[in-house]
Symmetry: C2
Subunit: 343 residues, 2 copies
């Protein structure tokens, strides 16, 4: 399984990308990695490090896309940037997937323009995975932020992609599909969501109905369908709350004197395991679904651990044939629609 890593564009690049790559190679003996970026800089990061040279190669690029670049323009014009060169290697079939911590909009545009959408996909979506209260159970959000205004049938596309993701990556036979809404009842929602609800009910998927933002992380569904607007709000707000709670605790422990500090020391293993489960470093980036290859976006602030996790996650997606499963799901859905129309 071959993954190409865009070594530029993130806050801690290229060092964190290279460190993450070496860690991933140690974890997975069958993994082959291509580091795409400015060769001299990557070589500097690799200097003196031990790694399996048969499984790591460098794909040279001349420059890179920054967060200030306009996404579509950058993809069209910066043809020798690490992101474009890496995406082209996926498009050419030289790699099964790509991991990048660079400009999210550019990666989304580039994935669609250079790697291309699967037949029947009108919008590719971002699919971040969130932890739930149930140990080992995660929920994938489709769309987690790529498309802010969606038509009702786009929600159905997202649901099919999320379903394929959960079947192929998590091995769940019949993923429970929930629709993010402001109430559990079918008649709750904004206009687009109410229409999407009706489409999902008729879809043949294991649709469990509306899910309120309050209960998303309680393990009530495996796939949470939403547009990238409400999805972004739910995701980022939860992230902010988690961050703020830990920050408030830290401040209160500091103010709490010796008693609180001793308490914290005793409680640290228990608190750390909660923090680890909720940390985006541990989750390791979201995939873009709907394109003809595995595309994983790592956070812009990714450290080595986050890069390693994103690479492992890309590997898991490629090994689970998620792209093929999505293509099959969309094609089956088109057949159902055609049959319904004929009937």
């Amino acid at each position: 399984m071959k993954i190409v890593l865009d070594c530029h564009g993130g806050d801690n690049c290229p060092q964190a990308a290279v460190d993450g790559a070496l860690a991933a190679l140690e974890r997975l003996p069958e993994l082959e990695l291509t580091l795409c970026g400015i060769e001299r800089e990557i070589q500097t990061c690799l200097n003196g490090r031990a790694y399996d040279r048969d499984r790591l190669r460098i794909l040279p690029a001349q420059d890179w896309i920054s967060n200030e670049d306009s996404p579509t323009l950058a993809i069209r014009r910066k043809k020798t940037s690490s992101m474009v060169v890496a995406l082209n290697s996926v498009a050419a079939g030289d790699a099964d997937g790509i991991v990048s911590s660079g400009n999210t909009g550019a990666l989304l545009a580039g994935a669609q323009l250079l790697v291309g959408r699967l037949p029947g996909v009108t919008r590719a979506c971002l699919a971040p995975v969130m932890p739930t209260l149930e140990d080992g159970r995660d929920v994938v959000m489709v769309d987690g932020g790529a498309n802010v205004d969606c038509r009702p049938d786009t929600y159905l596309e997202f649901a099919i992609m999320g379903d394929a993701f959960m079947r192929s990556v998590y091995g769940i036979a019949s993923p429970r599909i929930g629709l993010l809404s402001n109430g559990a009842e079918a008649e709750k929602g904004n206009e687009a969501t109410k229409l999407a609800h009706a489409l999902l009910r008729e879809s043949g998927l294991n649709f469990v109905g509306n899910v309120e933002a309050r209960y998303v992380m309680n393990g009530v569904c495996d796939v949470l369908v939403t547009d990238g607007w409400a999805g972004n709000m739910a995701l980022k707000s939860a992230e902010g709350m988690a961050h703020n709670l830990f920050e408030m605790m830290r401040r209160n422990i500091e103010r709490g004197g010796l008693r609180a500090k001793l308490g914290y020391w005793l409680l640290r293993p228990a608190l750390r395991s909660v923090k680890r489960r909720m940390s985006s470093d541990e989750i390791g980036g979201g995939a873009f679904l709907g394109v003809r290859g595995v595309v994983v976006k790592a956070h812009g602030a990714s450290g080595a651990q986050a890069f390693c996790n994103a690479i492992l996650s890309a590997h898991k997606l490629a090994r689970g044939y998620v792209v093929q499963r999505i293509a099959e799901g969309l094609s089956a859905s088109r057949r159902v629609c055609a049959d319904t129309e004929r009937a």
Copy 2:
């Protein structure tokens, strides 16, 4: 200052409502309360309790509106329900405000139908207050869930109401107005939000630009403008995350043996103060803004403490003349618009 309390419709009613009322009377010597509900049931809750009889009276009702009732139908048909009787006493000027933990939709519909909207208000909104990382600094969200599909100019109305709320209740001279979006840059947002951004920039309010859901509770603005759809997502998702984090900690402490239990005991004061700041009991319900009286919605699950806080909050709104300040704000905005059109 007179507040009427709808004693039915919540999970712990009428006992929690009555207990909350008695607690509020003790806290505020100038407060007068009317308990609206089924007299016999309220009397049972009051039996044997000591309170100032000059400041507490009962307003009898025959029945009440449940969460299963259809909001507008219930308001129109259940004319002797505690919610309708209480709302009518506000409309008649017998009370300055109402607190209810009943059916949210019915309260919103009833507030608009019976108490009436202020001139220039097309949509009343729910205005929950959220804590921030900065001690003593809160942020009010308008709209926190009442209107799921909004036109761009409705966001401006919400902003004016939130501005008046923060000036009159918190005494902030020039509240910082933020617009909830998926990025800080002006060009980020869905179609409606981008148009709202342009209106807010021209509004004369202290508009600080887009605010991402991740940073809402970091104290970057005093008023967060959004529609009830994105607002509900951000609010409920943060609530869910806070609840789940505390629940995961509880489980890990249980599993962590003696060491973790001792640590928890030592750390309890510090953790409790975080939990209290984040608890909806402490925040005490959201107000409906845009109607001709103070209307405060307490959570359906409110206990005595939450009812007491909601009553204190209604009192604060009435004392700050929030209704008058909103009316003035809207009328000033209409003058600006008229001047701009003439110019």
